[in-house]
Symmetry: C2
Subunit: 303 residues, 2 copies
């Protein structure tokens, strides 16, 4: 599992800071989460192959999370994409994109599939044999969802040495990895545990931006490995956080602590702050393992 932060600043793109967009690599998927203006340029800068992006998740329709999407969709067309692109986002996103394509008479020549969200409850919005994605309804000025990505338990790992020792034939390996025991020709039953190692524990990533401090998130993200939570403000501006429906670094850390997550990544900083280390310091007063998102940062959770 690997997270690339393309942009993690609030409000407006600036010369050196980008609005929200990130790429989550998980079990060979490459999910794009939010798509602020300039995202396609950051994807290029990070040499992320456009064709690997098949699902885009948009949290809400504020410009700093969404205004890069029309351009990215157009660029996919110009590059000759033919594989389907799935857009998961708030109701209205389809109308907006379709109108922009219509005005430019620039229909995509690949299937563009919209999955519009309007539920206020958590829901499963993507599932295959490797991962699930659930919404995390958030509390912001417009309809907003976070997203919870969970790996499924993978196949068991074959203990090759043991397989040779017991004389298990290659033809059975597929079954063994799926947890089956093996009955040898001489009638001996070899239990699966003797032939395999446990699969790596499935990992999980919760993306929560933008939102008012919402303790009701806690049970929904209990024990996730990595929590990205917005921290637009410091506690000194808690009144602004309340007014604009954002969170402070300390509040984000409180969510992380109560949800017993492994790591908290902060982001979506207001441009009023020069020194981002203040966010880490404030959060650390509540929760120990705090990372700061920075544009261009790569978090590799496999190592």
């Amino acid at each position: 599992m690997k997270l690339t932060i393309l942009g993690c600043h609030a409000a407006t793109p600036r010369t050196l800071t980008n609005p929200t967009a990130q790429v989550l690599e998980i079990r060979n998927h490459m999910f794009l989460i939010d798509c602020g203006e300039g995202t396609q340029v950051e994807l290029r800068r990070h040499k992320i192959k456009f064709s690997r992006i098949k699902h885009i998740f948009i949290s809400h329709l504020h410009g700093d999370h969404f205004f890069g999407l029309p351009g990215l969709i157009s660029t996919f067309r110009l590059l000759g994409r033919d594989s389907p692109l799935h857009i998961h986002g708030p109701k209205g996103i389809k109308e907006a994109i379709v109108l922009l394509l219509k005005l430019g008479d620039s229909w995509t020549n690949y299937p563009l599939l919209f999955h519009e969200l309007d539920s206020k409850d958590e829901e499963l919005i993507f599932e295959d044999d490797r991962v699930t994605v659930h919404t995390l309804p958030l509390n912001h000025r417009v309809y907003t969802n976070g997203f919870l990505f969970r790996e499924k338990l993978g196949e068991r790992k074959l203990n090759v040495e043991a397989a040779v020792k017991y004389g298990v034939e290659k033809a059975y390996f597929r079954n063994v990895k799926q947890g089956k025991d093996v009955l040898l020709e001489d009638g001996t039953l070899v239990k699966n545990a003797a032939l395999t190692f446990d699969p790596p524990p499935p990992r999980s990533y919760a993306f929560c931006s933008d939102t008012l401090y919402s303790p009701d998130l806690v049970p929904k993200i209990q024990r996730v490995d990595v929590l990205y939570h917005e921290a637009t403000f410091l506690e000194s501006e808690a009144h602004l956080a309340l007014k604009t429906k954002h969170t402070t670094a300390k509040q984000a850390a409180t969510i992380a602590k109560n949800a017993q997550v492994e790591v908290l990544i902060l982001g979506h900083y207001s441009t009023r702050y020069g020194n981002l280390e203040l966010f880490r310091e404030e959060a650390k007063t509540v929760f120990p393992k705090v990372e700061l998102a920075r544009d261009g940062a790569v978090f590799n959770f496999d190592v």
Copy 2:
């Protein structure tokens, strides 16, 4: 008159090249022409004061000329703008922007005034005491206009030495600059020509992008000082220019030559070309004074 090229490349924003956007400073106006994705970042990079932009002219609704506009409008709001912003662009632009603002529940707190264009004929779309702006209907895949900016003839310049010599009082200077003669107290009539110099000749700038090679442009831009004309392709790709309704460098130069303009600036290069000097070389076979637009280039026509 000063032209700042924020972006001059076709199709998609890339790591080092921006889509079309430029700022024309003319008689104290600061006009933004087209607004591809990333324009607001380029405006910041060039330290162009956002508040000085009061009119934005959009040639057509392809993404590479337009997808930076929603973000710029939102940023103006976030920065607390209160002065009106005028958007001149093809019919449909209002519906698109209004929908995006509605979805984000992010109405501007400054007046946003749309002037939608749908005429196929040249028309006057802006005029004050200093400049006029006319559309230049172009021939592209969607409804497209170029824009012709013309300074009006300014006031005559006072010849201070002559005014002192003839004993013209200060109170008359305003009238003198406006071309009036002066009747002295002793009955002598001092002709205006003896008291003033000619004003600087009014200058003009024609922006023509995107378009198929269109000889019918020639009479409309006759003898303009500066012509920016798209040259998406070289002659070797003339078949692509025809197919996609774009122009080659040689064709752009032919327009410049026949319109007897002073300077031709080329831009809107296809990303297929590495060496832009080839555009200049090709155009120079037809027309002598050719400049290449480059992202970040500033053309100062006052010096």
